[in-house]
Amino acid sequence: MNKTVLYTVLLIVAAIAPFLFPAYGTQLATLWLMIIVALTWDLTGGQMGYNSLGNIFFYGTGMYVAAIVTISLVYNVADYTDAAGGGTFKFTWAQYFAGMALGSLAAGLFCAVCAVIIGFITFGLRGPYFAIGTLGVAIAAGELVSNWDWVGGGQGIALPVYPGDLDQGKIVFYFLFAGLGIGIFLFLKWLYGTRFGLAMNAIRDDEDKAEGMGLHTLRYKLTAWAMAAFFVGIAGAISAFQLIHFEPLETAYQTINLGIFMVVCVLLGGKGTLWGPVVGAIVFHVFKEVTWNYFLGWQWVALGALIVITVVYFQEGLMGWLMRMRPEWFGLTVDESGKVEAAE
């Protein structure tokens, strides 16, 4: 089986990468974060046609929930943030990892509940109105949190440092992100093969028709977004521990960085495909790291150009292009009239 070989090789590469390139441990962990936010963005954006610009809300909220849970397991949150993470607050190994585990779980669940509540309002909107509505939620959340002193206001929060060797810590964070990313990938691979996958595609292709056929469209939309929010919330939680210090506008609710990048990754890789977001995230991240390192000063221009070229000239994305050029790789055949057929 070609596919089994391919998957095995990829898994091995993922497992040894941080040991092969120890200097790039953090970049590689960030690559997995990009894959995670791209895969989860595509869940609603690509598969269901609901382009959220607000998924970054779940990332930031996940960070804060994880931090609050971790701190409040041991200390009073207000005292802790008043001292701005000053040295009197110590965490043992057990407290650190208990905080991380419980905090991540709480972050995921809290974000999923938020998605259901926000979705109840915003899913009445379609097309660009949904995108702008969700963006508004993320921007408002950033502003609200930066005025909320209990969680450190605009200063943000500093979490305890990894309680062990810092190089080992980098590898731990790499595998946390990688494990989450692989878990999400396998989950989505399964999900897209169930009724859920078809229902999302039906909503994307013609939501009025889907309603007319009796589909529980709102139920599917809320559940899909809640699942995306759950995973992004956990990713935010892990990021909070990895970054140690984060603040609301530039890190947590970073609408113009990660909030936009996740969309670009998906568009670049190919909307509505399982591999598109993964491929897009890898290409985008490499492009971004290279421009940041070698074209400093021009990096935003290069990035902007990449976005414009993708959106204007390359809407099918890398996977869409590959499917058109090499349909046989995907079990598709093309009949004489140029129409694509799927394999049985």
Partner: protein, 247 residues
């Protein structure tokens, strides 16, 4: 035979346009009922009112004795009252089999049913219905790659997959290759007799509707003009005038 749909005194305006005025009609359970009338006479508007696509201004609509005029589209569909669109609507980026599989009835769908895998029975039913409408060979094509007529057939098959008790078809033969129309009439009759589906059909083609329907209603200028058997309608001078006047 009992009435499965009863429309009583329904009116619908769009701004100043009176699309339907005080319309009352009945669809008999198990029968094929026709709805005819010149272009713009309000046929599609009446269909939209019945399936809850838009709120009505006045009147009452019942399905199996239950008032449905305040229900939402999805709720009405789940009761077993389904419609096809005059403009034809299918899922363009999904292949024919996928279009069929997601069209299963959602009447009793529980939360966990969202994550069900496609059962063998559903697959077989999807394929046999595609065969029934003559699209089996095209089953792997994307819905959007089919011709307009083929999309109409796919939409019809999707509706059958949903196992409705009443199927409302908005101009099912429009855009279909004339040589295939007789076959389509046969299939509509089969759906009615063998699958036990009550049909309510808007049709512009007089020959088709005379061939198909047990009872026919005729609209003109948003009002009910005449009703009767195909013979009665064919010989009704008001109907003839309405159609001639429309040209």
């Amino acid at each position: 035979m009992s009435n499965i749909i009863e429309v009583t005194g329904v009116s619908k305006n769009f701004g100043g346009v009176v699309a339907n005025h005080d319309i009352s009609l009945k669809v008999k359970k198990g029968a094929i009922t026709g709805l005819i009338g010149p272009n713009g006479s309000g046929k599609t508007t009446l269909f939209n009112s019945i399936v809850g696509f838009h709120p009505i201004d006045e009147g009452s609509i019942t399905f199996e004795g239950q008032e449905i005029s305040k229900l939402q589209v999805q709720q009405i569909a789940r009761l077993g009252l389904l419609r096809t669109f005059q403009q034809t609507r299918i899922y363009g980026k999904m292949n024919c089999v996928e279009n069929m599989l997601i069209s299963i009835p959602h009447r009793r769908a529980e939360f966990m049913d969202m994550f069900a895998s496609h059962s063998k029975a559903d697959r077989e039913k999807a394929l046999s219905l595609l065969e029934f409408v003559g699209l089996y060979e095209k089953r792997k094509l994307l819905g959007g790659d089919l011709s307009f007529g083929q999309q109409k057939l796919l939409e019809f098959a999707m509706a059958l997959m949903n196992e409705p008790s009443v199927l409302m078809l908005d101009e099912p033969t429009a855009g279909i290759n004339p040589t295939l129309i007789n076959g389509l009439i046969d299939r509509l009759k089969k759906a009615n007799e063998q699958f036990d589906i009550t049909l309510f059909v808007i049709e512009h083609n007089m020959r088709v509707i005379m061939n198909l329907a047990d009872q026919i209603y005729c609209l003109a200028h948003g009002e009910l003009l005449a009703e009767g058997t195909p013979e009665e309608i064919q010989n009704d001078s008001r109907v003839i005038d309405a159609y001639l006047g429309a040209h």
